[in-house]
């Protein structure tokens, strides 16, 4: 049962690569925080700073209010699940799970009890004698989880643990991780670049970009009130449509109180509707229709040089391509200034 506090955390590699910049984060006991962001934005680095695998360049890291900047990884009592699992190839599943306990001189009986208990919890109790090579990807993933769980650590760290699994297994393991984390109540930080995974798992979501935190909040807060244009574009699938207002001709659909200047309007695809040509808020031409079964994505060209607008329709509506159309807005319009910040 632990809290985790990050204060102005910085990591600079080799003097000039700023991988993590001024990260402030308070993680409550038992909370599952998901850190999400594009590749290279510093997610792994942040996790490795917490684990103690990288030295903190600047700032402070506290576990339960205790500063741990200078503690060895083992001394922080943190367990980590790696993307490639990093199981010890020459050890059986049992030994993989028992290794950390052995290193702490846990009595043999206690080790046996905890390993079998954890194995049962993760449904890998019939694999205990096998080597990692003799396991499927999903089973290896479970063993990697088991190795973390068996230690009963203060904090779990996950670095894209599901990205090597196929899609259906990923959905299943995602739910299982969520259930396990709630059941054990261990404070967790989970890193992913997959925003669906992030939305479904998180108590609170942290969106990172270029080493900085863009926004922290519950998944629904981030979805409904993205603080920056980056968050708005990153959260939600298909991504939010952006319309550059500096080049738009007429915008009667904007609220009258909208200030002038180089603004960008953001509208989610599900908040747009196709109407007959000549009516609606925006005139356009249907360029392509992507039927996905339960829904269809319609790409609409507004002007010659404008980007395509994506409209999300329910599955049974299938308009013909190459037709003029009108687009109506039936949901919130988000406004961002030239720095990408949300206007209230």
């Amino acid at each position: 049962m632990s809290t985790l506090t990050l204060e102005r955390l910085n990591k600079t590699y080799g003097g000039n690569v700023q991988a993590v910049r001024g990260v402030d984060l308070d993680i409550a006991d038992g909370e599952l925080i998901v850190v999400v962001g594009p590749s290279g934005c510093g997610k792994s680095t942040l996790l490795r700073l917490i684990a103690g695998l990288e030295e903190i360049s600047d700032g402070e890291l506290c576990i339960d209010g205790q500063r741990v900047n200078d503690s060895e990884p083992a001394g922080r009592d943190i367990a980590m699940v790696f993307q490639n699992y990093a199981l010890y190839p020459h050890m059986s599943v049992y030994d993989n799970m028992a290794y950390s306990l052995k290193n702490r001189r846990t009595p043999k009986e206690e080790i046996r009890r905890r390993v079998t208990e954890t194995a049962r919890l993760l449904a890998i109790d019939d694999l205990l004698e096998r080597r990692p090579r003799q396991l499927s990807g999903g089973q290896r993933q479970r063993v990697a989880m088991g190795r973390a769980v068996v230690r009963q650590p203060k904090v779990f760290l996950f670095d894209e643990p599901l990205s090597n699994l196929d899609a259906s297994l990923r959905v299943q393991m995602r739910q299982e991780i969520r259930r396990l984390q709630k059941r054990l109540g261990v404070t967790s930080v989970y890193v992913t670049h997959d925003q669906v995974e992030a939305m479904t798992l998180a108590d609170r979501l942290v969106v990172m970009n270029g080493g900085r935190i863009e926004q922290i909040g519950t998944p629904m807060t981030l979805f409904n009130q993205p603080a920056t244009r980056f968050v708005a574009g990153f959260i939600g699938s298909p991504a939010m449509n952006f319309i550059d207002l500096a080049h738009a001709e007429q915008t009667p659909w904007l609220p009258a109180s909208t200030p002038g200047g180089a603004l960008t309007a953001g509208i989610r695809p599900e908040h747009l509707q196709l109407v007959t040509a000549g009516s609606g808020d925006l005139p356009g031409r249907i360029e392509m229709v992507e039927p996905l079964g339960s829904e269809s994505l319609v790409h609409v060209r507004l002007g010659e040089h404008d980007p395509l607008l994506v409209v999300r329709l329910s599955g049974d509506e299938l308009p013909a391509a190459e037709q003029p159309t009108g687009v109506a807005i039936n949901g919130p319009v988000h406004l961002f200034d030239s720095d990408g910040r949300r206007l209230p």
């Binding site: 990884p73 290193n103 190795r147 230690r151």
Partner: protein, 281 residues
Amino acid sequence: MRYRRPGLDVATHVILIIGALIFMLPVLLALMASTHTLPSLLSGGLALLPGSEGLDHYIQLLTQPAGGVAVPTWRLMLNSLIMALGIAVGKLTISIIAAYAIVFFRFRFRMLCFWLIFVTLMLPVEVRIVPTYGVVADLGLLNSYPGLILPLIASATATFLFRQFFLTLPPELLEAARLDGAGPWRFFRDILLPLSKTNMAALFVIMFIYGWNQYLWPLLAASDADYATLVMSLRRLTIAQDGVPPWQLATTMTVLALLPPVAVIVLMQRWFVKGLVDSEK
């Protein structure tokens, strides 16, 4: 990929058999010659069939001094064995530890150390033999086992091979071990060593044969017959008192010199397979 065509099978087997015969012929000749008497060898040309002496020459050599060799051959074999084992075990130990330091520790002049070790690849014993002799003599190690072993015990090749192997391991393995509370020593003992088993077996075979076949260094360092090795003594045996070298004994000793390396290869081969079966699936 394997081709399945009978004609090709026959052709490859013919080539393999010819190759094997070419390699086997000298060994076979030595084996046959060791069972002939000297006069029969000198008169009969190549000895392709077993002679009349059976194992007599082997018993003679193993139990008593012969020719220019002052000790029985069992003693030479023991010396050779100690030297070869010492060199092989020493080389493995030192090189795996050196590679461990170079790959897993960040210290000042790390790359300099690596290149220094690497450069010594270009300095075999023969090149540095005079200074090496001076050092060993000053240390009073001439005519001793340490004197035979120590100058040959460092191996840039093995260090390099272990380094390459360590670099292929995912770095997360070390990180997982660190989080699991394994310090440097435990990581080495519990994870690196077991993963290196097959590499060590292969290198052991190579290094044992290298040590066993040393000629020049023992010739210098072991002037005392008590420390003479088998390979360096082969030539001494043929220094004959009455002008005719005892070829029947020389071929016998040659066969004896072959046995331990062959035994090591056969033993280690089983170990390889076991290692492969264990770790690969």
